[in-house]
């Protein structure tokens, strides 16, 4: 038995509840729907507990950067994409500066592979022969052969890269963008929301970094290419992807600049079709800023943050800055949508989705990096059943959960960007009745205690 569980034994159930859920719930949101309106049945939800000791410490004094992608292969190995060059040079990576200023720490490689126990079993990534590594890697997918696909949200990123799982280059999908003169103003298709999957270079601090030594973060970067949402040969900052093994197709969330889902032939890399919000032809003109209660945009905002294919042939698209999931058939016909936390501004509420691992994929997990939680939805109805997590740096808390995935056992894995810089695992503990709309921080409980 874990030691921290022993500590919890003896605490009354009331105290345990207060520590995990009650302390988080505002009166407005603490009540759970005891029954679903449709069935009258007691609502069930996956029960999850964070594993505070997963993954295991890395060697070489490596540390994670902002995590911008995370996925699980058929062996339940977890692949993590992180951005190794978004560190504060003066304070965070003293052993890899020139000259070194300390013994800790060094940036881990961009791609990290963990086994189910959390041991680091593979690491690779970065520039190499035969391909151009994205300026800002974003999104990591595992295809049906176990190969790894990587996107990029940087201003000049227009391609997907495919590697074997141990990092041997396989294929580039998409052409390089035409170079943009450094002084050129952003074109009409420039994103209305800067891609916020990574730390901004020096900007956005409330306190201006007083006393905090944040010098040296980030880099200038190339000027952003214009969006090209009708392109048949390149992408506009592809941020995530999923795979249709039977059809040999890749669904690409495209992207940081573009406002579309693009479907790619897995073998040839050819773009076969694409669509925008509601199945409309995508339009790169900048739409009005999102506002709660405003007219729903007929186009995706940027970034289009996920395009996740379910077993029953539905494509779930994260329209992040519009706070909504849109669901399509594989041919791009619009099926329905769900708005999540519509008051959310800034980066938006719908960052990534993952399916539960029961045959029906009954539940949909939605990572919300702005409200610092994971929403749990009934996939069929898209009703929000509950949520878990809160802001913070302790286990089970989040700063900007950017990516979410599930393994074959139903465990949930999350990756945090910005200064979250973590991967966390939430162990699946079976189904249980929904007791709150706001599950708070899901810490391990004493064995045998009532949830």
């Amino acid at each position: 038995m874990n030691r921290w569980r022993k500590l919890l034994i003896g605490a009354t159930p009331l105290v345990v509840m207060a520590g995990s859920a009650g302390a988080q719930g505002s009166p407005k949101t603490a009540k759970a729907p005891a029954q679903t309106a449709a069935t009258g049945q007691s609502t069930q939800t996956p029960k999850l507990e964070v594993d505070p000791l997963w993954p295991k410490p890395m060697t070489n004094r490596w540390i994670l950067g902002s995590v911008t992608g995370l996925n699980v292969d058929a062996r339940d190995h977890v692949f993590v994409l992180n951005i190794p060059d978004y560190f504060t040079a003066r304070t965070e990576i003293g052993s890899s500066t020139t000259p070194p200023t300390g013994e800790c720490c060094s940036a881990a490689p961009a791609v990290l592979e963990y086994d189910p126990q959390g041991a680091l079993v593979g690491h690779w990534g970065g520039p190499g022969a035969g391909y151009e590594w994205p300026t800002t890697p974003s999104g990591i997918g595992v295809d049906p052969q176990g190969n790894i696909w990587i996107g990029g949200s940087g201003g000049s990123d227009t391609r997907l890269l495919e590697f074997t799982r141990d990092g041997k280059f396989v294929m580039t999908v998409g052409k390089a963008g035409a170079p943009v003169a450094a002084a050129a103003p952003a074109a009409g298709g420039a994103p209305d929301t800067a891609y916020a999957g990574v730390s901004r270079a020096g900007g956005g601090r409330a306190a201006g970094g007083r006393g905090a030594g944040r010098g040296g973060r980030g880099r200038g970067g190339a000027p952003a290419l214009p969006a090209n949402s009708s392109s048949m040969d390149s992408f506009g900052g592809p941020t995530a992807m999923s795979f249709d093994a039977a059809a040999g197709e890749v669904f690409v969330a495209d992207g940081a600049r573009n406002r579309r889902v693009a479907v790619v032939d897995m073998k040839t890399g050819a773009i076969k079709r694409f669509w925008g919000a509601y199945g409309n032809k995508p339009d790169d003109a900048k739409p009005p800023a999102y506002s709660a209660g405003g007219t729903p945009s007929q186009q995706f905002g940027t970034p289009v943050a996920c395009a996740q294919l379910s077993k029953d042939g539905m494509v779930y698209v994260c329209d992040r800055s519009n706070d909504r999931i849109q669901v399509f058939k594989k041919d791009g016909s619009f099926v329905k949508e769900k708005v999540i936390a519509p008051e959310t501004l800034g980066d938006g509420s719908v960052w990534d989705v993952a399916f539960s691992r029961d045959p029906q994929q009954k539940y949909l997990y939605v990572a919300d990096g702005m409200n610092m939680k994971i929403w749990v939805l009934d996939r069929a109805s898209l009703d929000v059943i509950t949520s878990f997590g809160d802001g913070g740096r302790q286990p089970g808390q989040f700063y900007a959960p950017h990516s979410v995935a599930t393994d074959s056992k139903g465990n949930v894995l999350t990756g945090e960007t910005y200064e979250g810089k973590r991967v966390q695992k939430f162990d699946f503990k079976g189904l249980g009745a929904v007791t709150t709309m706001n599950g708070g921080v899901l810490w391990p409980r004493a064995a045998g205690s009532k949830p």
Binding site: R3, W4, L7, L8, G19, S20, Q24, P52, L53, P55, P57, R61, I63, L64, T88, R90, T91, E92, G94, P100, T101, G102, E103, C104, C105, R205, A206, A207, G209, R210, G211, A212, G213, A341, E343, T344, L345, G346, D347, S349, M370, N371, M372, K373, D390, G391, G392, R393, Q394, P395, Q397, Y399, Y418, E419, G420, K421, R422, G440, V441, W443
Partner: protein, 401 residues
Amino acid sequence: MTRTKTIVRAGALVSAILMLAVGQRALDAHAHAKTLTAPRFEVDPLWPKPLPNHWVLGNVIGVGVDDRDHVFIVHRNDTFDSTTEIGAVAKPKLSECCVPAPPVLEFDPAGNLVASWGGPVAGAPYVWPSSNHGISIDNKGNVWIGGNGAGIASIGQGPDSHILKFTHDGHFLMQIGIPGQPTASNDTTHFGRVAKISFDIPANEAFVADGYGNHRVAVIDMTTGRIKRLWGAYGHVPSDSNLGPYNPDAPVAQQFRTPVHCAEPTPDGLVYVCDRPNDRIQVFRKNGTFVKEKIIKPQTKGDGSVWDIAFSKDPAQKYIFLADGKNEKIYVMDRQSLEILTSFGDGGRQPGMWFAVHSIATDSKGNIFTAETYEGKRIQKFVYKGLGTVSDSQGVVWPKR
């Protein structure tokens, strides 16, 4: 030599039992490492309990423990990314999370938040520091806070050059030193961006690590706040001349480099001073006479290696725990010899890892509390597990599965 002695002191039977407890993983990982007897710790990944109200911590730059083993922290609650981290207080509101917690938080031993206070108050008879820094609780349960800020130009507030004293629940008691004054290491009317305050209760004196502007230790009367004496490195008269950046190949500096980050008196009449960017502890008598020094990881540049120290809770205070926020370790040192016996921790965001471990304190049970600044933004507890056999480089000290 000390290492050998301590090993011999531990009986063979005790050693054998403790060896079993060390764990195969640690043995595998450090097959080449030496082992020795030292205090053992395990991080408690679930301490403290989650904060209410979507509160989050900024840079945590002070931790202290009172005589009830309540843990006080002070953090900079204005060190957030305004658009991605605290959307709930943005105008307009961006999200439900998160909200900056008040600067001073008090936790009970179980990790429950039991009080929160601090920050500027309009019309208050004191100036809240522009960058609160360091928190210590005296024998009466009163809370002392320094400040290392350069001031707030927009409201005409000058540099932090004073100390504030409150009751444990945040009622103002005393302001020591004139606020808003420039660096002046030989001035006795104010301080120069104070890092931390510690107490010699029998003498009714407080030792001030002074600081981020000044290059000195200042000793004050706890009742009146009067500065009684002061000194610089090696007991010299302090000087505020610019020493430039630390260079490990240069002759040792004859003055403290800023920040002077801790000044910790012991019952046996010594004061341990953290000369942070100079990578050294200097030890003095309480009258400021230099006794000895210890260089720690002299290749460490930038913020330096000697950030804060705490003592073990045995009557002899046999061990020093030294927080190194640059190399991301806690060193366990023999206080008499100043030899490093072992170390634990590593860089990272998981339990038992740190980003910029800034402050350290111990409770009556010998548990260690650490506070992380920069983007660490955490308080962590390391549970004392008694003396045991450890490697000389332990890495992350997780509880056994």
